[in-house]
C-alpha cells in the first residue's frame, strides 16, 4: 500500500467539504483515484464530483479511445508537475486537482 495526499481547490473543496485528505491505496493510476476512490469516500457528492471533473454523457463518464476517462478543463498536478490520468501513483505523492483558474473580463 502507498499513501498519497490529495488537495482540492476552488469549487472542488466546497463540493467535497475538505481542502486536503490522505488516501492509502494500492499502486493505482490517477484515473482510478479520480473515478473510483474519491467518489467512494464522498458518496453524497459522488455524482456532482464526476460531473464537475469529467466529461459526461447522460450522466456517464465519457471514455476516450485509449479507455481513459475524459477530464473536463481540469489540471492534475503531482508534486507540482502536470500529469495525465495514466500516471501511476507513488508513495508520498501530493496530488492537486485544479479547476480552471478564474480571471475576469479583459
Amino acid at each position: 500500500m502507498i499513501r498519497v495526499k490529495v488537495k482540492y481547490f476552488g469549487r472542488l473543496h466546497e463540493l467535497l467539504g475538505v481542502r486536503e485528505e490522505e488516501y492509502e491505496v494500492d499502486e493505482i493510476t490517477l484515473a482510478d483515484l479520480l473515478l473510483n476512490y474519491i467518489p467512494s469516500r464522498h458518496e453524497s457528492s459522488a455524482n456532482a464530483w464526476k460531473e464537475n471533473i469529467f466529461v459526461t454523457i447522460r450522466g456517464e463518464v465519457a471514455i476516450d479511445k485509449n479507455g481513459m476517462p475524459m477530464l473536463k478543463n481540469h489540471v492534475i498536478l503531482v508534486k507540482g508537475k502536470s500529469q495525465d490520468l495514466t500516471y501511476k501513483l507513488k508513495d508520498g505523492d501530493e496530488i492537486a486537482i485544479l479547476p480552471p483558474v478564474g480571471g475576469g473580463t479583459k
Binding site: N73, L77, G80, G102, T105
Partner: protein, 139 residues
Amino acid sequence: MKIRISEKLDDLNTLLEEIKKGSNEIGSVIIFVGSVRGISNEGEKVLRLEYEAYEEVAVKTLRNIIADLKNKYGIIDAIVEHKVGSAGVGEDTVYALIASKHRKEGFKSLIELIERLKHEVPIWKKEITEKGSRWIENI
C-alpha cells in the same frame, strides 16, 4: 523579482520605491492595480470576492512568467503581489509593477503578465453578490 501571495498587500508606494532602487537603468515603471468592482458582469451588486491560491505553484508559475518577459522584452525587473482571502468592494487585490529602460517594453510586458496571471496562475476567485455566490472560471 518579487512575488508575494498574501492576505494583505504591501503599500504600493513602498513597492514602487523598492523596484526603482534595483537599477539605475530603470527609466519606466508601469503599474497595474486590480481592485474589486461593485457590480458583477451580470449586473448584480457585489458584496465581496474571496480568493484562494495553490501558493507554491502560483509563485513558481509567476516566476516563470516574469523570466519569460525578461527574455522576450528585456525588462529589468517585476513585482507581483496578489491577495488571497476576502476582499471588499474597492479593495486592491493585485499589484503588478514592471520596471524597464523604456515604456514600450514595459506596457507590452504588463499586458502579457496580467493575461497570463489570469489564465495560468492557480488562483481562484469566488464572487459573492446580493443574489448568491459563484466561482469565476475561464472555461
